[in-house]
């Protein structure tokens, strides 16, 4: 009898997970690129629009493993040498959200600045401001 209840519980759980998976349709997100070079994030600051989910693509150009970590963003991902990692962040409220490299926390530091910035629609890609003179992050 106990096993029957256990099986019922497992069935309910798996059906719930499948339902949850079906809720989130994969939508096209704005992309923001960050590079890790010499245990530093480049750019160290990125500006993203408020209340929008965006895609961060992080390239690790170093010969060592690094881990993108952020308590503010609630994100954590290991990035292997000469590889890239994809992380989705947001929607976020206006403010500053720090991130760091867990394996080199003193040098690899950066922040995501969430602003009510105007997104310029430029041929399907979004132009964003970054700290070094408003380069196009795409």
């Amino acid at each position: 009898m106990i096993n029957a209840y256990l099986c019922r519980y497992i069935k309910v759980f798996f059906i719930s997970v499948l339902l949850l998976l079906s809720f989130n349709l994969q939508a096209k997100r704005s992309e923001y690129h960050i590079a890790i070079k010499n245990h530093l994030f480049e750019p160290a600051k990125i500006v993203i629009p408020a209340n929008t989910k965006v895609k961060l693509i992080i390239y690790n150009h170093d010969e060592n493993v690094e881990e993108f970590d952020s308590f503010d963003l609630n994100r954590e991902k290991v990035i292997f040498p000469n590889q890239q990692a994809i992380i989705f962040i947001g929607p976020l409220l206006v403010g500053e959200y720090n991130f760091f490299g867990e394996y080199h926390p003193h040098s690899a530091r950066g922040k995501v600045i969430v602003n009510n910035i105007e997104n310029v629609n430029n041929g399907g890609t979004k132009v964003i401001e970054i700290d070094k003179g408003g380069q196009n992050a795409n």
């Binding site: 497992i10 809720f23 493993v65 609630n74 954590e76 590889q83 994809i86 867990e102």
Partner: protein
């Protein structure tokens, strides 16, 4: 380097120490014979070997499924930890005292321990091999591991005796409920990983309690391991947390009543 190693060790090893305490207390408080030494040694060796194999293959896994490989793999492992822990909780609550139930409970406990140890161990091995390859400050790293190990051991021993006291003097099911909360913490981690790769939707947090207890503080880390504490939980996380707590508790409660009515439990 020293502090970083201690923090990383705490982050990765604390769940292993806490689950060991929780499982030991469940088996020691019952009349079930615990695992034999032979099984424990074999299990430990198996866990270490698999953790090493996994750490060597994490790079390949990370590139699978459009870069979502690690998140999918880890969340599956954490989901299994939750399911097995809940199975253990339900069986603990509705134990009819048969040998078959004890056998299932041992297998579930063994699986929970192995999965937690492999997932956390592989992550820490990646960090260790990375620093070992750089040949930098190995001494600091070793001291960090010893300090981190000492802290984890102290917390787990304290936790074990506190729970044993609570089980004997307050309510016999307190450690069972701690197992539920620990499993919920693992489930919350799985949800965050799936939100990270946009499989589950993420939205603005329901509240922000980081000014009261920051997740990166020592207390925050401990609460994260024990209860799945999140300073900025999303509505989805909150709903799943509540449902994932209520459903197994209700099942165990109603099964227990039914077994009592049927005369299978006294």
């Amino acid at each position: 380097m020293l502090i970083n190693t201690v923090l990383l060790f705490l982050q990765n090893a604390l769940p292993i120490f806490i689950i060991t305490s929780l499982l030991l207390i469940r088996f020691s408080s019952e009349t079930i014979k615990t695992f034999s030494v032979k099984w424990l040694v074999l299990g430990l060796l198996f866990t270490i070997i698999i953790a090493f194999i996994l750490s060597n293959n994490l790079e390949n896994i990370s590139q699978a499924a459009d870069g979502k490989g690690i998140e999918l793999f880890l969340s599956l492992g954490l989901l299994l930890v939750y399911l097995f822990s809940m199975g253990l909780f339900i069986l603990n609550s509705t134990d009819s005292g048969t040998g078959y139930d004890s056998f299932i409970k041992k297998q579930l406990a063994f699986m929970v321990f192995i999965i937690i140890s492999i997932l956390n161990g592989a992550h820490f091995i990646v960090y260790l091999t990375n620093y070992w390859a750089q040949a930098q400050q190995i001494e600091s790293m070793l001291i960090g591991i010893i300090l981190g190990g000492g802290i984890c051991l102290s917390i787990s021993i304290l936790f074990y005796f506190l729970l044993k006291y609570a089980d004997q003097n307050i309510h016999q099911k307190i450690s069972s409920y701690f197992l539920v909360f620990f499993a919920l913490g693992q489930l919350m981690h799985a949800i965050v990983l799936l939100q990270q790769v946009d499989i589950f939707s993420s939205s603005q947090p329901v509240w922000n309690s980081s000014s009261i207890i920051a997740e990166n503080s020592e207390l925050g880390q401990l609460l994260t391991v024990l209860f799945g504490y999140e300073s900025t939980p999303s509505p989805l996380q909150l709903i799943i947390y509540v449902l994932a707590f209520i459903i197994p508790v209700m099942i165990s409660h109603f099964t227990s009543i039914r077994l009592f009515i049927c005369g299978e439990k006294t």
